[in-house]
Point group: C2
Amino acid sequence: MRTTEGTGARQSTLRSSNLALVLRTVCAAAQPLSRADVAGRTGSTRATAARLVDELVAGGLLDEGERVAPPRRGRPATPLLPGGRIGALGLQVDAGLLAARVLDLRGRVVAESVEDGDFVGSDPAATLRRLGALATELLAGVPGQLRLVGAGLALPGIVSVADGVLLRAPNLGWSDVRPADLLAPHLPGGLHPTPGNEADLAARTVAEIAPGRPGERRDFLYLSGQIGIGGAAVLAGQVMTGSAGWAGELGHVCVDPGGPPCRCGSTGCLEQYAGRHALLTAAGLPLDTPSAELAARAAAGEPGAGRALETAAGALGVGLAGVVNVLDIPTVVLGGYLGALADLLRPEVEALLARRVLSARWRRPTIEAATAAPAAGATGAALRALADVLADPVRWLH
Amino acid sequence: MRTTEGTGARQSTLRSSNLALVLRTVCAAAQPLSRADVAGRTGSTRATAARLVDELVAGGLLDEGERVAPPRRGRPATPLLPGGRIGALGLQVDAGLLAARVLDLRGRVVAESVEDGDFVGSDPAATLRRLGALATELLAGVPGQLRLVGAGLALPGIVSVADGVLLRAPNLGWSDVRPADLLAPHLPGGLHPTPGNEADLAARTVAEIAPGRPGERRDFLYLSGQIGIGGAAVLAGQVMTGSAGWAGELGHVCVDPGGPPCRCGSTGCLEQYAGRHALLTAAGLPLDTPSAELAARAAAGEPGAGRALETAAGALGVGLAGVVNVLDIPTVVLGGYLGALADLLRPEVEALLARRVLSARWRRPTIEAATAAPAAGATGAALRALADVLADPVRWLH
DNA sequence: GGCTTATGTTCTACGGCAGAACAAAACCCG
DNA sequence: CGGGTTTTGTTCTGCCGTAGAACATAAGCC
């Protein structure tokens, strides 16, 4: 049950807790549930489940679908679905794009816009103003009955969750920026996006297919291949945030202390071997080469491309082994640039992990590719905003 | 509120949850609380708090102390303390010792026995039989009114929490052992100790001073310096277990891929530089040299000892930097053998961390020493057993 | 010794759930 | 086609555990 930390539970806590459980139960289901189904799955009576469902339906968090003739005797069930008129806005700034995306409580993309550009070294105020314009245009096309419950912003850097400050985004060249403050004036309806780390938010899209709907994997390490490498660790479907919210910097695990210097101040960081710029430089290719082209060249036997991938695989094997040993999470999902290269990287990385991970004998580490999705961080930002509804639906019931 | 995952809350859940909250509140307090204090701290009414306290007192989980004249007007308060007649048994097998320790709900050591020996390569059945005898003798001397609610066993290796199998303990030379099954026949009263990793359990003694009483640090990395190096990550007072319970293997983070082979199958593992055997070998000292002697020799300027510590510090700096980047936990507590060397290791390790940790500018990583405590794992094992009482006191109320 | 203050106890009312009974809406079968 | 069966949804009553008020107790203060 959800209480304020250290505060006793009371009847209202019971209600809140059970409303949340009912909403989660319906959202998690692969098929629509009935009130009787909800009662069965939550262990409550049909009377209680019905009462709670009625409240959620009245508040728009659940919808009732059309009853269909059942394939069996008995009264037909009223199907329940997550509210289709509840949505959230996800935004993203990356080195090479701006994105805005609206998702509803069923996980559907209601509207989206992705705009390419070069934002490395850009002025934060100008870039965020531009993103605001993108989002405003997008929202103008969204049906009026869609109720936006929140917004989020994915950024490629360290975000202080406590006060919303982007402390440092090396790939953008930004430091100590308050992105929500810069952006909010350019958004309609008083939206104030919550900033978050891009890799954390992208990882969420692997952990959840739709709000409250678990993905295939609940425990995994996510590597987001961008200019550098972002990362996130996910356990039981939850992104690990660490004590200040800055966890997951897998790209800055040192794989060779005598290796090249990194912009972070360290040496031999994983992203110096397996980041997009590192890979393309090692392969002797232009920095804007698509990952599919690098993969094709390596597959075709070009020595430069092959060696670059070999070096990257070696670094990934060494760096990730330590992480798997420390976190006990043997599934690695490669996203962004690295996702397209997963098949080429997998044999050597898995071999190194099998050798270097203490528990490999009992649970073999695996490398997988994330489903290709442009601006996955924007989707993750919207999912996180929607997660607030699932966590405490009472706040959205009037 | 504590429900079975996915099960709705009901009146009984309210009661269980509030009983647990009241017990936790009293256990966490630095000074005894009254019923009125408990009401104030939990947000409930004095009537409700009194009713819940009465139940816990009746069940022995709380004790009422002697009322003392108050320093102010008003009716004197009845002080409440954690139940002094509730205890748990903690056991430990290490390469060089066996330990048994009984703690009560106030965190007091009621009885203890530590026996030195050499258990490397020992027969598990014989060693555990010996530990059983040690524990049985200890329990014979414990007051009859102490009610043991459980027992735990700390082991230096990978433990499968799901089925209680010690998969591998390299320092003992044990593999695929069911320690509770071997031990239980030699313990009185049907005790069936839950096995756990030594570093995880030792870390718990830093996170908790007594059952439910937080230690000074809530978020830290714990390194347990034994023959090798065990480790644990603690966040918000909770030891991170990972997806199978095998997290925390900080000793097997690779700090140099070209480094010496490790027994784990990898190369260049941290424990090959900073483990006790690695340190003493590098210093040219016998393997049973106490840490105080190594520290003294290094402090006295012996080049071998100094270089060994220098090398260890370098490895710790590189290896821990990656872990801090991934977990976002910048406080490192050194225990076991490493605790005694913390002062000598600190300058260089902190310098390396300051340079290599991404967020060091905002939160400077620090190296601290754990309070010296022989067989800290045994204490941690008892604390964990007692934690089950705090988590769900209803189970212990008849 | 009366007043004031704080704690502890008793009593009543309320919220939210369980469980039973009833109603509705289907399919099945003779 | 109508009665029987089955399943879902609705209504009603009772119970559990809390809040809140009132009262009782146990002190110190003046």
